[in-house]
Symmetry: C2
Subunit: 241 residues, 2 copies
């Protein structure tokens, strides 16, 4: 096993099989393009478990993912993919940069789910890309964009329903995709409170309802407890514990 890449929240290792990689989830957390850094104790395990459970569940719905299995609490075996350098964000409710950039009020329910593409580039601050800019930068073909949009909307439908059954509102989330050696487009990265905005439907309090990384971003406290809450509800609903 050789360290292939260390990112902000995960380390990727090679395995004896070139088609398989091992992902180790870290407790480290960063926000605002890494200008804010910290540690959420236990986050690695929690995010690995939530992600593994959701990937497995999405596979059962015919969404192709990179997930193979979870050999240890904070470790996930995944299919080796070439990551598409685009972050696909789906938004159901206005929050975060959408509000800062457009003046929309946080919490406004959008009239349709917004699928947005951002360039994965820390130096440029992960800028929002229009469809035309994506085509111009040759980051994806028109057909690939349509495919990404269509898969993202399907995943949004599944996850929105699923989280609602956990009494959680899926506000928005970020997806990453990769191409395997056969050229198949697979959902990759993770699905966790690091990459989703999740609001607890059991409280109306704007501060208390936040069950995701915004607790860290905006110093709302009780970050670990929020992540645990999501983990508990997700695993329970899927009959894992």
């Amino acid at each position: 096993m050789k360290k292939l890449y260390e990112g902000k929240a995960k380390i990727i290792y090679t395995t004896s099989d070139p088609e398989i990689l091992l992902t180790q989830f870290k407790d480290d957390v960063t926000a605002f393009n890494s200008s804010k850094r910290g540690i959420i104790p236990g986050k690695g395990e929690i995010n690995c478990q939530i992600s593994s459970a959701l990937f497995k569940w999405l596979e059962s719905k015919n969404i192709a993912t990179h997930f193979i299995d979870q050999p240890a609490h904070r470790e996930m075996r995944v299919r080796a993919v070439k990551i598409v350098p685009i972050e696909v964000v789906v938004r159901n409710i206005a929050a975060g940069s959408l509000c800062r950039q457009t003046g929309l009020i946080e919490g406004k329910i959008l009239s349709f789910p917004l699928v947005e593409f951002y360039l994965k580039n820390d130096e440029l601050g992960d800028p929002l890309l229009t469809r035309d800019r994506l085509l111009l930068l040759e980051l994806a073909s028109q057909k690939q964009l349509e495919q990404l949009q269509s898969i993202a909307l399907k995943i949004n439908q599944y996850l929105t329903e699923f989280f609602a059954s956990c009494q959680i509102t899926l506000v928005d989330f970020k997806l990453e995709f990769g191409l395997d050696s056969q050229g198949n487009l697979l959902l990759a990265d993770e699905i966790s409170p690091d990459t989703c905005r999740l609001w607890d439907q059991q409280t109306k309090n704007l501060r208390d309802r936040v069950l995701d990384k915004d607790r860290f971003r905006h110093d709302l406290g009780k970050v670990e407890a929020a992540y645990q809450q999501v983990q508990q509800r997700v695993l329970e609903k899927l009959g894992i514990r």
Copy 2:
């Protein structure tokens, strides 16, 4: 005559006819969302003359504009319109914010003309809007967007050819549109070295070739001379002087 509105580069006055307004072009110039301010002596007259000439010429090509006539050197009579709060930018060559945001190299010829929409909102810094964000903010309908895109591309084709005949490369430009009392979409605002990036084809020197507001933005000097150069070539080509 009553002052209706004073902007960064123009003052709008009412006239005795509610369907007609008078625009007075100022020598004031601002850049970087008004953080940089200055005066370019003679700019008001130059931009009024260039804009008047180009609007008149575009009218002859069946592009509907707000232009009526130019009663004085720095004054233009225009049809009263309700301005659409969107800046339509057409780009043929990478420059400015496109480069800063995507990492594209300045001067790269784009594989197709890029039509982009920006929110006219100083407080938010005139952010780039995707088609979906525009629809979501209800700033335009799908049909209106297609109409704006189609007119902008037509204007780009005409202006690119025209400026080329003046030995000038049309790098990019910003358009504004308005709706008259009958709901007709008219090209409004101005077309000038304030709103276009124009590169002199008669010099290869990257600094010298700039004939537009970038001379002011980046302190390249000889701002007035550059504006005069554009004025002279445009009016000469159109047989006005």
